[in-house]
């Protein structure tokens, strides 16, 4: 009996080992691929006849043709990183520092999100790379929405400034940070220790998919310290010291920008699409005045329009959501902001955010916080920093039972009906004489003073001081009226109870009244033309042929106040490839707001959709088809699988044979069928051996798929095989040694 139990235990143990070893093999494959796909980016400046490295960072290849995701702060040309040339270095030999191989250009960038998508365009010597001639190892982007607390992640990047091999850091997800751009998962917080130069690298889930980009922005480059290191003798005094230009590397990173932020950039770049609008990116920033934060307050949650549901001074024990709201002024994408949170005076890395680029607009309301995460009891102090300087502090106590003090919450705007119910979409109202708001109150006492304070574009517009007489709990309305009509623009309602801010929310008034809704954009349509001027008069088109190089969309608008934040979003086959939030800079009303969608060659087939949003709410949308209305299938899109590598040797000499072709035939064809036609379309992947006889296929091979192999070289007997299959039992990593025989 006892022996039976032992045998059963051994059997169970053995069985349990098997899937682990298979998973471990696959993960080892993924890690190998990830390391090869991780590149070192050097921004360099031509000074005379010398190329001076100005900024460095890590990056990750995300497409076979050489698109690289990295940070914007070390690749976009600005005062901190003035270089105009981007060099891509790769790990050629595992365990060794990266070797410069290519030059790249910025394909897409979002300075605020601190993400840039580079495209490898040239060999290191400056020769252009022909389209589709590259077949680089790459990684796939994960759906960041599926990331969870305590999930194990692997962070890969270059820990040095070019002299160290690619590094791996493992950790777990310890939290998520919420911001208006990205909602509850604007940042992924990790326990992994990540040096500053690994900024721009990649964080991966256990399936080897990219879930986030380690991101931090160096604050200053004024002096040589641990966050800025000299690399070259830039002043040519014979010494490499603090007198030379130093490379900003930043401090340690604990925030990952979710990969979903990069998805639109990747989609746009891989399709070669570009959107040109009358309001180009960055045009909304005037870069005058000192950036600062003010009016800090806390809210327990955020509504659909990104507004606080209420204003709180404390939270009960067991709370899982907390947001710090504040107004920002004079910000720009180059501004570096940071949040330091302490709990009972001790730094709290879970809720802090390392220095990062500002991803919002120039002026407005912002929040940072987290939801669905336990907040331990204690006294929390939140300190905001702008460019390394403290710019506002707020304190909050978490613990105890829920307060029963008077409160207001959940402000919703609308045209009020006879019963006081707000009609409309809640946060965008049409122009007219009146705008109303409804809010919920709790624990109120009759007789206390409350104030409703309305602002228009930041200036006080209406103040109503009242005495409460509506009882303890319920809902209440308030409104503003203007005989001459409410001007279009951004309005804010602040509600106070006995002088304490109790609730706050913004609304936009724009467009003509159409019932309770705002008629802002009209006559939204697509057309095709050779020039922008022709497009203004071209007839609307709903279906386009595959040959067009430009696609125009035009829209008329009315009653939009200057500075009103609005969003334009483009998608193809439901994948967003462009999104921009900008303040309105056109006249209040007009026609033919012209947006051009262009492509490097021609616009790929697909179903294209353009949407206009205000306060996160859809205002207008239109859809059109190009060609067959569906994107072509990319047969090289799959990054995962097994890397097929090996060496082809002469059986007589046992030396590698250079220039031999290794052909892997796709699952639909056999060797006999292939050798009848010798057609490239039958080939899954092809490789040619190098001077040492080494080869590697340019596509990963998939599990449980039957391939065929042909290795044929003049003077040698061919080796062929059908039914070649990689199974979970195949020993990985795969390295084939193949001997070719001569007659």
């Amino acid at each position: 009996m006892y022996r039976t139990h032992i045998l059963a235990a051994i059997l169970l143990f053995s069985l349990s080992l098997f899937p682990i070893s298979v998973d471990a093999q696959q993960q080892s494959q993924d890690l190998d691929r990830i390391q090869r796909a991780t590149v070192f980016i050097m921004q360099a400046q031509n000074v005379g006849d010398e190329l001076i490295v100005t900024c460095v960072g890590s990056g990750t290849i995300v497409s076979r043709s050489g698109l690289i995701i990295t940070n914007a702060h070390n690749t976009l040309q600005d005062t901190a990183c003035p270089g105009e040339t981007l060099i891509v270095a790769m790990t050629i030999t595992p365990g060794e520092p990266p070797v410069p191989k290519y030059r790249a250009e910025i394909a897409q960038a979002d300075p605020g999100l601190d993400l840039a998508l580079l495209r490898i365009t040239q060999e290191l010597d400056g020769r252009l790379i022909e389209g589709n001639s590259l077949a680089l190892p790459f990684v796939e982007l994960a759906d960041s929405g599926t990331t969870q607390l305590d999930q194990t992640i692997t962070v890969v990047g270059y820990p040095g400034i070019g002299s160290e091999a690619v590094g791996i850091s493992r950790g777990t997800i310890i939290g998520f940070t919420a911001e208006p751009r990205g909602a509850d998962k604007a940042w992924i917080k990790t326990s992994a220790v990540i040096p500053g130069t690994m900024s721009g690298g990649g964080a991966y889930n256990q399936q080897g998919q990219l879930i986030g980009i380690p991101t931090t922005a160096p604050i200053t480059v004024l002096s040589t310290d641990t966050t800025c290191q000299p690399l070259q003798d830039t002043n040519r005094d014979g010494l490499v010291n603090s007198s030379d230009i130093c490379i900003p590397v930043g401090g340690f990173i604990n925030g990952l920008r979710p990969a979903s932020f990069a998805q639109p950039l990747l989609r746009g770049a891989s399709l070669g699409l570009a959107v040109t609008t009358p309001d180009p990116p960055g045009s909304q920033f005037h870069r005058t005045g000192t950036p600062e934060f003010k009016n800090l307050f806390f809210a327990p949650s955020v509504n659909e329009a990104g507004m606080p549901t209420s204003v709180i001074g404390s939270l009960p024990a067991g709370s899982t959501g907390l947001y710090l709201f504040f107004d920002y002024v004079n910000m720009s994408p180059e501004t570096v902001y940071e949040l330091r949170v302490t709990t009972n005076g001790i730094p709290n890395p879970t809720f802090s955010l390392a220095p990062v680029r500002w991803s919002g607009g120039e002026n407005g309301i912002w929040y940072i916080g987290s939801a669905n995460q336990p907040w331990a009891n204690g006294v929390y102090e939140f300190t905001l920093f702008v460019n390394g300087v403290a710019s506002g502090t707020a304190r909050l106590n978490i613990g105890g039972s829920a307060e029963l003090s008077p409160s207001f919450r959940d402000i919703v705007f609308g045209i009020l009906d006879l019963r006081g119910n707000p009609l409309g979409n809640g946060f965008v109202l049409p122009t007219g004489n009146v705008a109303g708001a409804r809010f919920i109150f709790q624990n109120m006492e009759n007789g206390i003073e409350w104030i409703s304070l309305w602002y228009y574009n930041g200036v006080e517009f209406s103040r109503q001081t009242n005495t409460w007489n509506a009882g303890a709990n319920g809902d209440m309305t308030t409104s503003i009226q203007a005989e001459s009509g409410l001007l279009p623009g951004t309005y804010r309602l602040e509600l106070y109870i006995t002088g304490r801010l109790a609730a706050k929310s913004d609304l936009v008034i724009a467009g003509a009244q159409q019932g309770a809704y705002a008629d802002i954009f009209s006559n939204l349509h697509f057309t095709a033309a050779n020039t922008d001027l022709e497009a203004l008069t071209a007839a609307p088109i709903s279906n386009f042929p595959s040959t067009i190089g430009n696609l125009y969309t035009l829209v008329d608008w009315q009653q939009i106040g200057a500075g009103t934040l609005w969003t334009m979003r483009w998608s193809v086959d439901d994948d967003t490839f462009y999104e921009q939030v900008v303040p309105w800079s056109q006249p209040e009303s007009g026609s033919n707001y012209l947006v051009r969608l262009s492509a490097s060659t021609r616009i790929p087939d697909g179903t294209y959709r353009v949407e206009f949003l205000i306060n996160n709410l859809p205002i207008a949308a239109a859809e059109t088809q190009v060609g067959i209305g569906q994107l072509p299938i990319d047969r090289f899109a799959q990054a995962g699988g097994v890397q097929f590598r090996g060496k082809i040797l002469d059986a007589d000499t046992r030396a590698g044979i250079p220039g031999v072709t290794f052909i892997l035939i796709g699952e639909d064809f056999s060797v006999s069928e292939f050798v009848e036609e010798w057609n490239q379309d039958m080939i899954f992947a092809l490789a040619v051996t190098d001077q040492n006889g080494e080869f590697e296929l340019d596509r990963p091979v998939q599990f449980d798929t039957l391939y065929s192999v042909v290795i044929a070289a003049d003077g040698y007997l061919p080796i062929t095989a059908d039914g070649v299959e990689i199974t979970t039992e195949t020993e990985l990593p795969l390295y084939l040694t193949i001997y070719l025989t001569r007659d």
């Binding site: 059986a651 007997l717 062929t720 040694t737 025989t741 007659d743």
Partner: protein, 276 residues
């Protein structure tokens, strides 16, 4: 036979030492070792055939001449013909099995056998053929000279490791010996009997065909089978094939020679009697 036996033991021993016992020879030993191995068949032939011959009462005088001229002809004509003129490397390895056999028969096979035949024909035949077994001796000499040059070219152009060199040297020498014996038998018959005029061309054709069959079959047996780890050549199959081919050819030729010799001896007394 003794010579090939020693060669076989040497080749198999070297292969086993390197591949099964893991004995590693210095890398710079490859070419020198290969060159030494190339001359092992010549050395063995000198030791086992030529030296005893020189002390025999009726020595075969031109064995060395045949060997040297065969070697020179191989280098000057056979190898350039096969490699540069027929360019067999460009089209035969990738052809189908039947085409490979036909192709090698009509290129390398014909070339090799015609050249070996011509060397013997115009150096020692018929003057130095005093008995049937002279064909074996001169055929062996021609084959040794011819195969030594083939082996030498192989070693100098490819620098194979000694174990592989030993195998290839054995296989090449054995094949050339086997085919030379066939042509030698026909030359002996032509010299001492009155065979049909088609015997000699037939023997050359058979020898060419054996070349044409042996080259692709040996390579086909040795050629690796695709594997997801190591697709290694099956070198011992080539060795076994060479041994089997040699054994069959020697047995057949030996039987034919002995039986015709026997017939000749049996016929001789009766002829004498008739004369009396």
């Amino acid at each position: 036979m003794i010579q090939q036996g020693i060669l076989f033991v040497l080749a198999a021993g070297m292969f086993a030492a390197v591949n099964f016992l893991g004995i590693q020879l210095p890398a710079n030993f490859s070419q020198i070792g290969g060159l030494l191995l190339v001359f092992v068949p010549v050395g063995l032939w000198l030791l086992l055939s030529w030296r005893p011959e020189s002390s025999a009462p009726q020595p075969r005088q031109r064995l060395i001449n045949v060997a040297i001229i065969s070697g020179l002809a191989a280098n000057a004509i056979a190898i350039p013909m096969v490699q540069d003129f027929f360019q067999v490397d460009l089209w035969l390895p990738l052809a189908g099995a039947i085409n490979r056999i036909i192709g090698y028969s009509f290129t390398a096979g014909i070339t090799y056998e015609i050249i070996k035949y011509l060397v013997i024909r115009y150096t020692v035949w018929p003057d130095d053929f005093s008995e049937r077994f002279d064909s074996v001796a001169y055929g062996t000499a021609g084959a040794i000279g011819f195969s030594t040059v083939l082996n030498l070219i192989f070693i100098l152009s490819d620098t194979p490791p000694p174990d592989i060199a030993a195998l290839r040297i054995f296989e090449t020498t054995t094949l050339q010996l086997a085919t030379s014996l066939i042509v030698g038998y026909a030359l002996a018959e032509l010299r001492f009997s009155r065979p049909t005029p088609l015997l000699l061309p037939s023997a050359v054709a058979v020898a060419a065909f054996i070349n044409g069959v042996a080259i692709p079959i040996r390579a086909g047996l040795v050629n690796a089978t695709f594997n997801l780890t190591t697709s290694a050549p099956k070198s011992l199959f080539g060795l076994g094939f060479a041994v089997a081919l040699f054994a069959v050819v020697v047995a057949v030729v030996s039987f034919l020679l002995r039986s015709t010799e026997q017939q000749a001896r049996e016929a001789a007394p009766s002829q004498e009697g008739e004369l009396r």
